[in-house]
């Protein structure tokens, strides 16, 4: 089947699931269908259909799975948020609209991502500035202990969410340039091939960025994600285990020092090890999440029939627990499966991509989304200490939703070019062949 046909069919399915879940939630809570169910159906179908039309017109050969998966996660997240807090739901619908608009604009106005490769150092600068903006007095604000927000009029923006994408672009460009020198081993240390020391520069830079985010902005989750992103991309580009080992060593060292130096880090770890020590105090969030999931059991309490409002931060960090309570093991597994499918589709795009830059960018963005889902779900399920990052497409949050839709647009753009036969020289490097593809 042609990818657009697949996409259209799956989008219809995603809208039906979303609207049905929305109706069921209302039935569960008030025993009646919501008054706005028909306009809601219209808006969901309208939005997704518009996105589909844009893809059909401007990226017609792109993968047909990515957009429907994002739409499903987004729709399910919206239903849960609407059930928890109608005010948040109103904003989330606005963010969804803006996110899809950003997705469409990117596809319409960026016919090819390869030109970005040339601006890699500018992008690095932009990324670092975005990251550091919240630290500027008067501009940044503390929310829930983390200094990662900018107050702009009535809105709060998390520039770090956009920094992730921009830095992925920088890294992809930088690694294409330096791949060979980074891969050339000059010495051996036991089983590890050690590249020349001066090439460890970017890794140290990454370590520095991660440290600033952790120490100055107190955002453990993003810090962990930045570092993971750097290691994953360097590994994909070079295949050198040495970078992974060194990266993990650096990270463990940093984590250990942070654990010793900062009470908030120590507290996170203590809660992770034994949340039931203080179930009404510091462990409250994790303990309530576990109780919610236990209430859900295999089949869930049913939409609208649980009490996910008892979980602190249920619409943001802990949204996976809210899903698990009302939809049960089955629903929660469906969310896990959706992320896995998305990751699989993303890596397939990367495999098909025609240039190294696009390969690295696509795999970096995909890995970022996959690991972000793992970090937050793992935090909720106590696989690792809880760090506040959003569950991509599902959690409440404008910056996160918009940046994820932009990342999605990048993937769709790369996929489209990969599946389009090159009949004329690529616009960015006319006359110059693409770099060798491994």
């Amino acid at each position: 089947m042609r990818p657009r046909t697949v996409e259209l069919g799956l989008l219809v399915l995603a809208s039906l699931i979303t609207v049905a879940a929305y109706g069921l939630t209302s039935l569960g809570r008030a025993a009646s269908l919501p008054a706005n169910i028909v306009p809601f159906l219209g808006i969901v179908v309208g939005l997704l259909f518009s996105a589909h039309v844009v893809v059909r017109r401007w990226a017609s050969a792109a993968d047909g799975l990515l957009l429907p998966l994002a739409a499903l996660l987004n729709g399910l997240g919206y239903v849960v948020i609407a059930r928890l807090n109608p005010d948040l739901a109103d904003s989330q619908s606005a963010w969804t609209f803006i996110g899809l608009a950003a997705f469409a604009s990117f596809l319409i106005f960026v016919p090819d991502v390869r030109p970005l490769e040339r601006y890699r150092y500018t992008l690095a600068l932009v990324g670092v500035i975005l990251l550091l903006l919240p630290l500027i007095p008067g501009l940044g604000v503390n929310i829930n202990g983390a200094r990662i927000w900018l107050r702009v009029g009535p809105f709060s923006i998390q520039p770090g969410e956009f920094a992730k994408i921009v830095l992925s672009m920088f890294l992809a460009g930088y690694l294409v340039e330096k791949r060979e020198v980074l891969t050339t081993a000059t010495r051996r240390l036991g089983p590890l091939n050690i590249p020349d020391l001066k090439h460890f520069g970017p890794l140290t830079l990454a370590w520095g960025i991660a440290l600033i985010v952790m120490v100055a902005e107190k955002d453990l989750g993003s810090s962990l994600l930045f570092f993971t992103l750097f290691i994953v991309m360097i590994y994909i580009a070079t295949g050198r285990t040495a970078y992974v080992v060194l990266g993990l060593t650096l990270f463990s060292g940093g984590a250990y020092v942070a654990h010793e130096m900062f009470a908030h880090v120590r507290q996170r770890v203590d809660i992770w090890i034994n949340p039931f020590e203080d179930p009404k105090g510091s462990g409250f969030q994790i303990v309530e999440a576990a109780f919610a999931l236990a209430d859900g059991g295999v089949t869930g309490t049913g939409l609208g029939l649980g009490t996910p409002g008892k979980i602190p931060f249920a619409a943001t960090d802990m949204i996976f627990a809210a899903v698990g309570e009302e939809l049960g093991l089955l629903g929660a597994t469906a969310v896990l499966a959706s992320f896995l499918l998305f990751v699989g589709a993303g890596f397939r795009v990367a495999t098909q991509a025609k240039s190294s830059f696009e390969k690295l960018l696509a795999s970096g963005l995909t890995a970022l989304l996959g690991f972000q889902a793992f970090v937050i779900i793992g935090g909720v399920l106590r696989v690792m200490p809880l760090t506040g990052v959003t569950l991509p497409f599902v959690s409440y949050g404008g910056s996160s939703l918009i940046s994820n839709y932009i990342a999605l647009a990048v993937l769709v753009r790369i996929s489209d070019r990969a599946n389009t036969p090159d009949v004329f020289p690529s616009p960015s490097r006319a006359g110059e062949p693409d770099r060798a593809i491994a």
Partner: protein
């Protein structure tokens, strides 16, 4: 190249998600039930808070808890007409705090969620009958009132149970609390009351009869004596222990004295009658030895949480390690000498690291009274549907076989002697056969204070015992000289009186 590295990353991610899936199954399936039952989990209670909820009543029909219609968001208010009297047994149902006691452990029955009640409800499905259940306690109102009155203002606990079934007939700890303060719909006053009760002296919220442990003192001699007879070490009437005023265990120079510095001795029946410290310390440390005493204490239920049908019962404690053998068994010391033989000598008379709940000591008496068998203690004996028809009467079940029938018979004789002509004479009830054991557990404080204990069984002469009593009066500065025989035995006596004569 790049593609192969990407596959590696994909495999790592797959592994990560597999981990999530496994953990998700652990939380939602494997551990789900224990998480639902976790004491900090208020979800079930809150969900059921505004649902119709059945009565809790005593065996003789007195209402202990009921739901009455009220205005406001919850529609129904849980009321406890008897105030603090059943606070530790029936517990409370609170929106903010959660639930305790029968309100917690029989929540499913009260809201009608059990299979038996649901099936019963099917018949009434055409009508408008509710499917809530009524929970009937094993407790008798007259005995519970008598227990409270007999203890009066002093701190302590009283447990009455039927040794033939494990049915708790009365269980009272002073101080108690008024559960109405916690079931109120005024969240702020509930939280204030809860904070006050948590910080109050004497732990009114806890239910000390089954949730706190105390030195059992000389009541523990029943266990030491039973261990000696069960293992064929001594008989009731021979051998005869030397009369002495002090006994010094091996490996120490600190002697153990008798109460009030008196001298005592004789065969086991006399040791128990006089509550002879020197004799029992010698018996435990040098004749019974650590292994057999540990085993005996554990088969009476020590070191295990008793299977009481309300939450939070705690295990009584008997040490399980007396160190390595220092000297092998000999003619002088048949049990051998161990590193902590001095501690063992203390433990044999219920001091040192031995501690027990009043409920556990009642179960010790129950074993003697009931041919060595201990029934699982319970506070609920019957579930009825909303029309008052019985839907379930669970069978009593045996928890421990503590001692053989023969040993139980011997210990029974000895405990009857305690009441007939020993330290427990104040527990005598005319026309009733009563056996018992006093306990005066010194706390080692300065000035010295003691817990006063009495455990007893009672029945018609020549017939099996129908009643077991445990009384604990906690140590107090106001009466530093209180003893089990003087303070606790009369309380037990009045309760036996109430049971048999009304």
């Amino acid at each position: 190249m790049i593609d192969r590295h990407m596959r590696h990353v994909l495999v790592v991610l797959l592994g990560c998600f597999l981990l999530l899936f496994i953990q998700l199954n652990r939380i939602q399936v494997v551990d789900a039930e224990s998480l639902r039952q976790h004491p900090a989990n208020t979800r079930t209670v809150q969900r059921d808070f505004s649902r119709p909820r059945g009565l809790i009543s005593t065996a003789d029909g007195v209402v202990v808890a009921r739901s009455v219609p009220t205005s406001g968001p919850f529609e129904l208010l849980r009321e406890y007409p008897e105030g603090d009297l059943y606070s530790h047994v029936a517990g409370y149902l609170s929106f903010n705090i959660g639930a305790d006691g029968v309100e917690r452990s029989y929540n499913d029955e009260l809201v009608g969620r059990t299979a038996a009640l649901q099936l019963g409800g099917l018949a009434g499905i055409l009508g408008t009958e509710e499917s809530t259940g009524q929970v009937v306690l094993t407790l008798r109102h007259d005995l519970q009132v008598a227990a409270r009155d007999a203890l009066g203002d002093v701190r302590g606990s009283v447990v009455l149970l039927d040794p033939r079934s494990g049915d708790v007939l009365a269980m009272w700890s002073n101080p108690g609390f008024d559960p109405n303060r916690l079931s109120s719909h005024d969240g702020q006053s509930v939280n204030a009351a809860f904070t006050e009760l948590v910080n109050a002296d004497g732990n009114p919220l806890r239910g000390n009869a089954f949730r706190d442990i105390y030195f059992p003192g000389s009541t523990f001699k029943v266990v030491t004596g039973a261990a000696a007879i069960e293992n064929g070490i001594v008989g009731l009437n021979s051998p005869v222990f030397e009369v002495q005023s002090e006994y010094t265990p091996p490996l120490t120079s600190r002697p153990i004295a008798n109460f009030g510095g008196s001298s005592c001795g004789g065969p086991l029946i006399d040791l128990l009658r006089q509550s002879c410290n020197t004799g029992f310390a010698l018996l435990g440390a040098e004749l019974v030895g650590p292994d057999r005493l540990i085993r005996q204490a554990q088969s009476f239920g020590f070191n295990t949480v008793p299977p009481l049908d309300i939450p939070g019962a705690v295990a009584s404690r008997f040490p399980t390690d007396y160190g390595t053998e220092q000297r092998p068994p000999s003619v002088e010391i048949p049990a051998g000498v161990f590193e902590d033989s001095p501690g063992l000598a203390q433990a044999s008379i219920g001091q040192n690291d031995v501690s027990a709940t009043p409920l556990q000591m009642a179960l010790v008496a129950a074993a003697v009274a009931n041919d060595g068998e201990i029934f699982a203690p319970r506070v609920v004996g019957e579930i009825k549907n909303s029309q008052g028809e019985t839907v379930d009467t669970p069978n009593p079940r045996i928890w421990q076989q503590a001692i053989s029938t023969a040993t139980a018979g011997e210990m029974r004789t000895a405990m009857i002697a305690v009441v007939e002509e020993g330290s427990g004479v104040r527990a005598q009830v005319p026309g009733i056969e009563v056996g018992g054991k006093t306990g005066t557990a010194q706390l080692g404080t300065d000035p010295p204070q003691s817990h006063a204990w009495f455990i007893a069984f009672a029945g018609q002469p020549g017939l099996e015992s129908e009643l077991v009593v445990a009384v604990l009066v906690e140590a107090t500065e106001e009466d530093p000289d209180q003893t089990g025989g003087r303070i606790a035995a009369p309380i037990a006596q009045s309760l036996i009186q109430q049971y048999f004569n009304g």
